[in-house]
């Protein structure tokens, strides 16, 4: 197990990939790097989300295989986000961006979705309060009050939001989405509330590079907190000081 994970996206067998590194309570993928442990956040049914938790993602782009689109597919399948064959108006909750530098700068691929800012511009600008941040840091759109003004889309520095341009059908019960409203990555809030991993993270760990760690940044013992302490990580456009919930390892 080293950091030089095969960068081609072959659906590798999880067991061989993980080798014998599985311990009883956590998954260690390199010495001292805990990929994932039992979340200690379990909220009882009926309990409200609170700022005790701060959900976050850590994405190690060194482990994100080139040409792999598993997280994107998993997300859109999970949330019923379908294409109408019109790329300009089709919704995208997560996308892979190919970043190429000139000279000695390396080329890499990076999945970008809603960054779940602590100070989200989309929430600030929303006239009706439909764009909102849950107490545990997950940024959502309340489609009951969204009037479809798209101001949040202009305000988002990450192009994380999509406007639903056409009539939708076949929505998943936990991910309502409808024409004329704005939507974005929910961090799979329906799964998080059940102590499950977001679909992209689950898929990445199962079938792809295992580049994503999900967890509670407020919990010092969580895998994500440990990994964040252990290695330097960065926010995209950290200069904007939005305090993102999604961090990356290995980006410039």
């Amino acid at each position: 197990m080293n950091d030089n994970v095969d960068r081609k996206c072959e659906p590798c067998d999880r067991r061989t990939f993980l080798g014998g590194a599985i311990s009883a309570a956590s998954l260690t993928i390199a010495p001292g790097v805990t990929l994932f442990s039992i979340p200690s956040f379990a909220r009882k049914p009926g309990e409200r989300a609170s700022n005790v938790n701060r959900w976050g993602l850590l994405i190690d782009i060194n482990k994100c295989p080139d040409g792999c689109n598993e997280c994107v597919k998993a997300c859109h399948r999970e949330n019923g986000v379908k294409s109408h064959g019109r790329p300009e108006t089709d919704a995208k909750w997560i996308r892979k961006i190919t970043v190429s530098g000139s000279g000695r700068r390396p080329e890499f691929e990076i999945p970008v979705m809603c960054q779940h800012c602590e100070n989200p511009p989309c929430v600030d600008v929303c006239p009706t309060g439909a764009s909102m941040k849950r107490a545990d840091g997950i940024v959502l759109v309340d489609k009951h009050t969204c009037i479809g003004c798209r101001y949040c889309m202009i305000a988002c520095p990450y192009k994380a939001r999509s406007f639903v341009h056409e009539k939708t059908t076949g929505q998943r019960s936990f991910a309502p989405r409808g024409k004329g409203t704005v939507e974005s990555c929910t961090l799979c809030v329906h799964r998080v509330d059940q102590n499950r991993l977001p679909a992209c993270v689950e898929r990445c760990q199962e079938k792809a590079g295992g580049a994503m760690i999900f967890g509670d940044i407020n919990d010092k013992n969580s895998a994500i907190s440990k990994a964040l302490r252990k290695y330097p990580s960065k926010e995209i456009r950290g200069d904007l000081n939005l305090k993102l919930g999604v961090r990356y390892r290995g980006i410039p």
Partner: protein
């Protein structure tokens, strides 16, 4: 200064009904466009996930800016005490109300869920500039309505200065807030700037005066009344100041950006490489919208006259729409910078200059808003005595001497 009376538009001239008929047709077309967009979803327009605000917003913001600018004539008369503009006060307020209603209609009908207008009126997020604007627009309509009342009803005369001053201050806040809709956006390189607030105020003064003058000309034409040269020269001198100020702020803001190396790429986009955006900037905004009006309004050989003023106003309107197109569409066409210094690409149009091709349907919606404003002004002037019967020099020029 005697002899100013106010009368409704008389129904003697067929052109009045021609104008009303055309406007009615355009309003119907705009309503159809709105229905079509809402029924099918916004994919039938040229707007998409990259260019989320398009031509409807260009028209809506042009109308809203012009609304507060059009009120300026009344403010100058009431607040700054310039008597020669006094006969125009009530018409100025009417034009302001009409333009604002036209602009807001376009804005609302372009929403993804216009049926939820009630939600916009009952759920406020007070951190949102947009929510402040909803509040400011409604307040503007009420205040200006009250102001019109104070102008037209002698019993209300005592409150006129108060109403005028409040409306004036309100419109300054309103226009600043409209500018800050863009100015507060840290995400977009071309927007994130405090200069947008004063720029929008200058733009509103300029566009509003031009639109007001065209309305005045039109209404006087259909009611067969005459505008004396004195008032035209006054308005023309005002317009040339406003046009100059807008041009000045535009030049300064571009120079500032050119000086800062971090903004040079986006400046190159606007000024050189932005395809239609660059063309609209140089031809529409700078040549037609700034230079031509200034040439017409600073006459060397002949004094200002109605013809020059009318052409200048038309050019200012074309320039204004161009300027807003450059600001609104151009600002979105330029990609977001996620990794400064790197090239990016994705299946979601990251890193590319976004192309916007307005569809007929959204253009009809925008024009429908303009038509609504025209219709309100004409019908308003037909029903109530907004228009002075006579703007002859002997009624407006304090130094007029009959020769």
């Amino acid at each position: 200064m005697q002899g100013i009376g106010y009368r409704e538009i008389p129904s003697i001239h067929y052109s009045f009904f021609v104008v009303l008929g055309i406007m009615f047709a355009l309003i119907l077309a705009g309503l159809y466009a709105a229905w079509y967009m809402e029924h099918h979803g916004h994919w039938v327009t040229g707007m998409d996930n990259q260019i989320v605000w398009g031509v409807p917003h260009v028209f809506a913001i042009f109308l809203i800016l012009s609304a507060s600018g059009a009120l300026n004539i009344a403010s100058i008369a009431t607040v700054f005490g310039r008597a020669s503009f006094k006969p125009l006060s009530r018409f100025s307020a009417l034009v302001a109300i009409a333009l604002l209603i036209g602009g807001l209609s376009v804005l609302v009908l372009d929403l993804g869920r216009p049926d939820r207008l009630l939600i916009a009126m009952t759920h406020y997020n007070f951190r949102s500039v947009f929510a402040w604007n909803i509040f400011l627009y409604v307040g503007f309509l009420i205040l200006v309505g009250f102001y019109v009342w104070s102008i037209m009803d002698r019993k209300m005369e005592a409150l006129r200065i108060f109403a005028g001053a409040t409306s004036f201050l309100w419109r300054l806040v309103l226009t600043s807030a409209t500018g800050l809709i863009f100015g507060f956006l840290i995400a977009r390189e071309s927007y994130d700037s405090a200069i947008l607030a004063p720029m929008f105020i200058a733009m509103s003064l300029s566009f509003g005066l031009a639109v007001f003058y065209l309305f005045l000309q039109g209404s006087f034409f259909v009611s067969r009344r005459k505008i004396g040269n004195y008032i035209v020269v006054r308005l023309g001198k005002l317009l040339r100041i406003f046009v100059s100020v807008v041009l000045y702020i535009v030049v300064i803001s571009h120079l500032t950006n050119l000086y800062a190396s971090e903004h040079q790429d986006i400046e190159r986009f606007f000024l050189l490489s932005g395809r239609e955006i660059t063309v609209i900037f140089w031809i529409g905004q700078i040549l037609i919208g700034s230079f031509l009006p200034l040439l017409l309004l600073f006459p060397i050989d002949k004094p200002l006259d109605t013809v020059r003023m009318t052409y200048a106003s038309v050019f200012v309107v074309i320039g204004g729409i161009s300027q807003l197109y450059v600001i609104i569409i151009g600002g979105q066409a330029y990609p977001l910078i996620l990794f400064p210094g790197y090239e990016v690409s994705s299946s979601f149009f990251d890193g590319v200059i976004n192309v916007y091709t307005p569809s007929l349907i959204e253009t009809l919606l925008g024009i429908g808003g303009v038509a609504l404003a025209v219709k309100i002004v004409f019908l308003g002037s037909k029903i109530l005595p907004f228009l002075p019967t006579n703007l002859d020099d002997k009624n407006t020029d304090p130094h007029y001497e009959s020769s």
